[in-house]
Symmetry: D2
Subunit: 135 residues, 4 copies
């Protein structure tokens, strides 16, 4: 399972641009962490919503992929994110998990926390729909 | 109006990382364009959903800002995106517009099109809520 | 086309509870209208968000169904609604339309307007994903 | 706290139409239950998405209200729902909870379960934004 996720993740160049890495893979769960790089910010110097969204979306998508048949890839159909607090801190931690795995559709949730002085602050909640795609 | 938007946009380092620029500003509308850089992709080489989202979110947010009082900044409360087609093409064009400008909340929509061989293909629809913030 | 939509709509008992009727059907578009009945309200006497949502969802879903193969039924996968103004007026008019019809998924939008003293006020915007289902 | 919630809920005529009642109130949480009445259905006889949405929205909104200052009322800004399974069963149970209570905005989640032969099946997940309103 891990190899498939890590291989696909390794080919997401945006994740490399963001300095992101996978730090946890389980059945229906994936954790991705990334620093808030100088080139990932909005106008006040916090992480851009696009950074937070990308990490949440990838964590949710790969969480879905852990439960999909071998040989599939995963694609995001739609996602909704609520931004709860500015993305400020040493790094962002996005945890994705499957809420309902179906044959045609998989519904996922993700939470993004910012690590600030050793404490986690929740900065975003995402709810999304994923589909399997044949390569 | 333009100067305020362009100044804020210029301080969004993620937009520079993505090579994005503002190509249109009106009352309640903003257009942002960006190439699909080698470092902005998902695992199949198309633009990552995080790229598409970031452009749509910024276009929607700045569209909201055009109608907010001078001295305000804008922040995304929440956003929902439907991804309609892979982000493949010469560039992406995100057009944001205000659906309802309120004192406390502004509701916006954005569409992202990919330019492919001179033709525009709609790749995403976004619907979002923005708030004014004091600096 | 019309018969299939009207037949399915006629079997939605909630639409009868709401006094709703279809007032327009085109290729990829459906309009539904309903009064704001005494039994459809929230705590301040305006139409409940559940009423507005139900009309928008049905208009969007049936708009999708107009473009689906004969023999299919339609189901809502997910929907997101922004409530722009209180649902107050003589009646609500929900207009659904298809943004992208696909084989597996159809993305729709709907707008709900309240008719107030002969003028339409936009009270809600919906963006949703529909799927075809075999009976 | 309870009196304020129950009083407001009692004035939501749609909840009476649906036969809904509050079965739990805590700090930041509200539970609402309702049967699937003959007049609350979609075309296949399952509960309509409008029913599921209305219960989830009210549970989330009242969960938010439990943490708002006395004298406030609550309004839904926007909500997003994923429908996971048909609303079939003896009754629906909607549990709302606050994810982040802020001065200007409160972000909530709700889950709706259907009780089928004594077992709960999750039929919907909602994520929403609420605001306090002065009466």
């Amino acid at each position: 399972m891990d190899a498939r996720i890590r291989d696909s993740f390794g080919r997401q160049s945006l994740m490399q641009t963001f300095g992101a890495e996978i730090t946890g893979i389980g059945a229906g769960t994936v954790t991705i962490e990334a620093p808030i790089l100088p080139g990932s910010c909005q106008q006040h110097g916090a992480g851009h919503a696009g950074l937070t969204f990308a990490l949440a979306d990838s964590a949710a998508g790969y969480a879905a992929l852990t439960l999909m048949p071998e040989g599939c890839e995963v694609m995001t159909v739609e996602a909704k994110i609520n931004l709860l607090a500015p993305a400020i801190g040493e790094k962002l931690i996005a945890r994705g998990e499957v809420a309902k795995a179906g044959r045609r559709l998989t519904v996922c949730r993700a939470e993004v926390h910012a690590l600030r002085a050793g404490k986690e602050v929740c900065v975003a909640l995402l709810q999304a729909t994923m589909i399997p795609v044949e390569p």
